[in-house]
Symmetry: C2
Subunit: 164 residues, 2 copies
DNA sequence: TATTGTTATACTCTATAACTATA
DNA sequence: TATAGTTATAGAGTATAACAATA
């Protein structure tokens, strides 16, 4: 509003497009693998992985929504599919009767384990190996701050509906 | 098939997730901006930008498809919308009667110019400024090879339907 | 016969707003 | 009154396969 917008020189534009391109291509491949080998969408994969690696194997809807999805109804939809498939369970939260606790089932764990090897393979072949040697860490160092900035900032449409 | 898959240590996994997260968040914001200020989808924006910056202001469907979209029918759909909106024109290609040449109109140029300032602003604020100083170039150096690898490789579903 | 592009169709995903129930 | 989550609904985007026309 006050700072004159920088001209966004070709280098910068190029960085932006490179990022968007790589991500789109990678996501497309990854989604194909998840669908073919485990009948999962990428969002479902994120939910399953979050649960799988959590202490209790469970989480509240709200906590899943933050950082995975843009609208709460979208999460309800995806978790609904997971429940129908018997991969997760839904139950009222103990502490807060309003909340819903989602828990991964044994079948859910097996499904994730079924999918992981192929998933790693795709990510390795498509992203990590083509990366210049030992630069994965560098990538995280570049993108880490951006990620935090994006998560904190307003853009998320799962934007704290007034939360917290 | 012969190499034992590397275990994909946390650093690598983290790089992968950071990339996917940042891209998803960024894309969401960028799509919002394009929709609100110019009534364009991101794919439409890519098409328009490609045409805008090309010599003749035009390109064939096939050339647009490569690198923008995963299925040819998807491109037909998006270009159809652009044509309806008067932002591009479609005409049989001169050299090859099978082909269709898409050309940006004056209204199309104006629309892109209308959208660019806000677009740059979003990209600057959300991606470039949070990036460690002077690291845009570094990002391109990391992602550039990956992009080329992905473009060349099979994963594209707009995969040369036998092309060339 | 191969290539270019479109169409028809079906489906997945997403988002908004209205609604219920608990805190 | 504010928060958690669901539902209804509507719309945007995508992909597959069949198709027409040109090379």
């Amino acid at each position: 509003m006050s700072e004159p917008e920088p001209p966004l020189d070709p280098d910068l534009l190029n960085a932006y497009f490179a990022l968007m391109d790589v991500a789109a291509l990678l996501r497309h491949s990854v989604e194909q693998q998840l669908r073919e080998e485990g009948d999962l969408s990428y969002v479902q994969f994120q939910v399953m992985a979050t649960l799988y690696f959590s202490e209790a194997g469970s989480a509240r809807m709200t906590d899943l929504a933050d950082g995975i999805v843009h609208s709460r109804s979208g999460l309800t939809y995806q978790v609904g599919l997971l429940e129908k498939a018997g991969l997760v369970t839904r139950a009222p939260s103990e502490r807060d009767e309003r909340g819903v606790t989602v828990t991964i089932t044994e079948a859910g764990r097996e499904r994730l384990e079924l999918v992981m090897p192929g998933h790693r393979e795709v990510v390795n072949h498509l992203l990590l190996q083509p990366l210049p040697p030992d630069s994965a860490v560098a990538l995280v160092e570049l993108l880490g701050p951006v990620r935090e900035h994006l998560r904190a900032a307003p853009p998320r449409s799962a934007r704290p509906r007034g939360r917290r």
